[in-house]
């Protein structure tokens, strides 16, 4: 494996009382690559995500984020909002968490809170309408407009986020995460509930985020068409431990993975896996 890892997870351990949700998990995500974290339901994928994005404090182990400029952040020491603000890790949620009563544009403006807060002189410059604040706000609206256009939601910019169709909400959440200008984008099942056409569009969007922005992506996904098509590296988890990792093709043919997904009967498992695209 190359040494240019943006994220390295070492011996991560997460216990909830007596339950060990993640047990001694180690993997790395390469810079400017798409890494997928897959596994059957209850494997502990979302727990890993919550540890990386600061919603849980790991019981043990280390999570390191290496920025382009060589700065290394110890994610297990940060928590809460600091992960996004200082470590530049953005995330989306398995069950979409937009601000439904705010417009699509407002959602993207909220994402730029920290930049705008500084520009508004902690509100005081903004209150008197200082020119520096106004230009900062215009820049923020411009960035939001760019991302709305990228996800194809520009015509719906002024509609309430809660009124958008499901697929649009998924894409808006990704756009909102990108408005925080992250180094690492963590997506929790971005294709859940999308139809074939929508998940195709999602693939293109994620590839363009990786290609044009150079943002590294870590994603949890059940939709194999997404995982197989766009990921550069796949990590497979089951019962809180890593059971396999490698290229999509290698993982796909790994009997341990097939067994984990479909029970022990490998003959049957292989047949099902081959019938899926």
């Amino acid at each position: 494996m190359s040494n240019d890892n943006i994220l390295s997870v070492d011996h991560l351990m997460m216990r909830f009382g007596g339950i060990v949700a993640v047990n001694d998990l180690s993997f790395a995500a390469e810079r400017r690559k798409i890494t997928a974290l897959i596994g059957p339901n209850g494997a502990g994928k979302t727990t890993v995500f919550n540890c990386i994005t600061g919603f849980y404090r790991p019981s043990g182990g280390a999570i390191r984020l290496a920025h382009d400029d060589g700065r290394v952040v110890k994610l297990e020491r940060l928590n809460d909002f600091r992960i996004s603000r200082q470590a530049k890790v953005a995330r989306t949620f398995q069950n979409i968490r937009l601000f439904p009563g705010m417009t699509a544009l407002e959602n993207l403006m909220v994402a730029q809170h920290n930049v705008l807060m500084r520009a508004s002189g902690l509100t005081f410059l903004g209150l008197i309408g200082a020119p520096s604040w106004r230009s900062a706000e215009e820049r923020a609206i411009e960035l939001a407009r760019t991302w709305l256009a990228r996800v194809g939601l520009l015509p719906r910019a002024d509609d309430a986020a809660g009124n958008l169709p499901y697929g649009d909400q998924r894409r808006l959440e990704i756009a909102r995460a990108m408005c925080t200008e992250p180094a690492l984008l963590c997506l929790d099942e971005p294709a859940a509930g999308l139809n074939a056409r929508e998940s195709g569009a999602l693939n293109e969007l994620l590839l363009s985020i990786r290609g044009e922005h150079g943002t590294s992506i870590l994603l949890i996904e059940h939709d194999m068409s997404v995982v197989m098509e766009i990921s550069d590296h796949v990590v497979v988890m089951d019962y809180g431990v890593k059971i396999a990792e490698g290229t999509p093709q290698a993982v796909r043919d790994d009997p341990k993975v097939i067994a984990a997904y479909l029970g022990a009967d490998e003959e049957e498992a292989i047949a099902v896996m081959e019938s899926t695209p």
Partner: protein
């Protein structure tokens, strides 16, 4: 409700059967409920024995009223249609309403500015409008906490009290003028807002409401018991009246009337107070509208919508909540200082839970987050309260019924929709169904 809304509105046999059935059930419940409460009256006899007599006539009247009332309510409901349904309003009515909506706020403001001119001789109306404006200001202040940030605060009166006592004590002990004390009162109240904010940061919903309620009571009890500072239940009297930037509003040779060469009248002070509170309320409004369009205001609303998402976007929810508490408290403190200078005397009696409940009711009735709605609700609540004074003991009853009706027809307050803070092409209101109330 859904059972009736599925039927067409024109009266049909099934409809009338349904109404009759419902009315009969209501009447039966009333019969059971009131048969002992009203039907039989007991009293201690002259020798200590129990005597009773029946009042079946009254009971029959009550049951008949419930029966008839139930039919009327059902008919009203059918006539009105389901609460959450989009009603098709004819075009001219629609345009008239949007016209009224656009001009209501400026018209109201224009009328308010002219109130002292129109009602110059009617002291009662002037007094009442000062009171209404005080509550408008309090409502706008609380709106920041409850309406924007979605933090249910039942102890808002604490900050009102802090502001009032700050001014009263600073002015009587240190001879500071109103204009020096006003910002101090605001700052002190904001400080207490932050102090309240810290312990309640982790609380949500009902728990937050209980703790803020207790906080309001604590402040009041401290004021009552700290006799050496606050004078306890006797309050603080002899609070200086406001001056027009140093020129007193009295009958002396230095007074404003003498300086302007006009005849002195006590109404001058009332008019001055009126414009003072109007200016303070409008500044509150302006600042709030401004704040909504700044990142901090958007963060407040985002916090109300989804706190977890806020954290994922790098918003410090702690400071965001604290600034909301502090901002709301500061406006409460300003209003408190004004209250003290208007009354000239304050005591803990003025800062009971009832005040908090009243201000909260204004915010909720007005439509959480809507500035115009809060102003209208304050007018309706305080003005309406005075209007029903003639009803004497039935005033609370009428008032309660009015509020229940309003909540049935407009569950999200008078003005429930939300105006976006920024837009690209179309500035369209967001339906109240989508806007969250916040979870604390």
């Amino acid at each position: 409700m859904s059972a009736t809304s599925a039927r067409p509105h024109a009266s049909q046999p099934s409809d009338s059967a349904f109404i009759l059935k419902k009315a009969l059930i209501s009447a039966a419940v009333a019969l059971v409920l009131f048969s002992l409460m009203i039907g039989i009256r007991t009293e201690a006899g002259p020798e200590g024995n129990l005597i009773y007599w029946t009042r079946f006539g009254d009971l029959a009247a009550i049951v008949a009223t419930v029966f008839g009332g139930s039919i009327i309510v059902e008919l009203l409901r059918q006539w009105w249609g389901p609460v959450d349904k989009e009603r098709i309003v004819p075009k001219p009515v629609q345009s008239a309403m949007s016209f009224a909506g656009r001009w209501l706020a400026p018209a109201l403001l224009g009328f308010t500015v002219l109130v002292p001119v129109i009602f110059y001789d009617q002291r009662y109306i002037l007094d009442l409008s000062i009171l209404v404006l005080t509550y408008v200001m309090l409502g706008w202040g609380l709106n920041v906490v409850v309406g924007l940030a979605g933090l249910l605060d039942l102890g808002y009166v604490a900050f009102y009290a802090v502001g009032a006592y700050s001014y009263a004590l600073l002015a009587t002990n240190f001879d500071l003028s109103f204009w020096v004390c006003l910002p101090l009162a605001g700052i002190l109240a904001a400080l207490w807002g932050v102090m309240l904010g810290f312990p309640v940061l982790r609380l949500r919903g009902d728990y937050l409401a209980i703790v803020t309620l207790a906080f309001g009571e604590i402040i009041r009890l401290v004021i009552i018991n700290w006799q050496s500072l606050t004078g306890g239940p006797n309050g603080v009297s002899g609070i200086p009246r406001p001056t027009v930037f140093g020129i007193p509003l009295d009958n002396s040779d230095d007074g404003l009337a003498a300086k302007l060469g006009i005849e002195f009248s006590p109404t001058h002070r009332l008019v001055f107070l009126f414009y003072l509170i109007l200016a303070m309320a409008l500044i509150t409004n302006w600042v709030t509208i401004r704040l909504r369009r700044l990142p901090i205001g958007r963060a407040w609303e985002a916090l109300r919508e989804d706190e977890v998402a806020c954290r994922a976007l790098g918003i410090n929810t702690t400071t965001t909540k604290l600034t909301a508490f502090a901002t709301g408290a500061m406006f409460g403190g300003f209003a408190g200082a004004f209250f003290a200078t208007r009354q000239g005397f304050i005591s803990p009696e003025s800062f009971t839970f009832q005040e908090s409940a009243l201000v909260l009711a204004i915010v909720v009735l007005g439509g959480m987050g809507s500035q115009l709605g809060v102003a209208l609700a304050a007018l309706a609540m305080i003005g309406g309260f005075e209007l029903f004074r003639g009803f004497d003991q039935y005033r609370m009853l009428v008032f309660g019924i009015a509020m229940v009706l309003l909540m049935i027809w407009r569950p999200r307050g008078l003005i429930g929709h939300r105006a976006p803070t920024v837009f690209l092409e179309r500035n369209q209101a967001i339906s109240s169904d989508l806007v969250k109330e916040g979870h604390g």
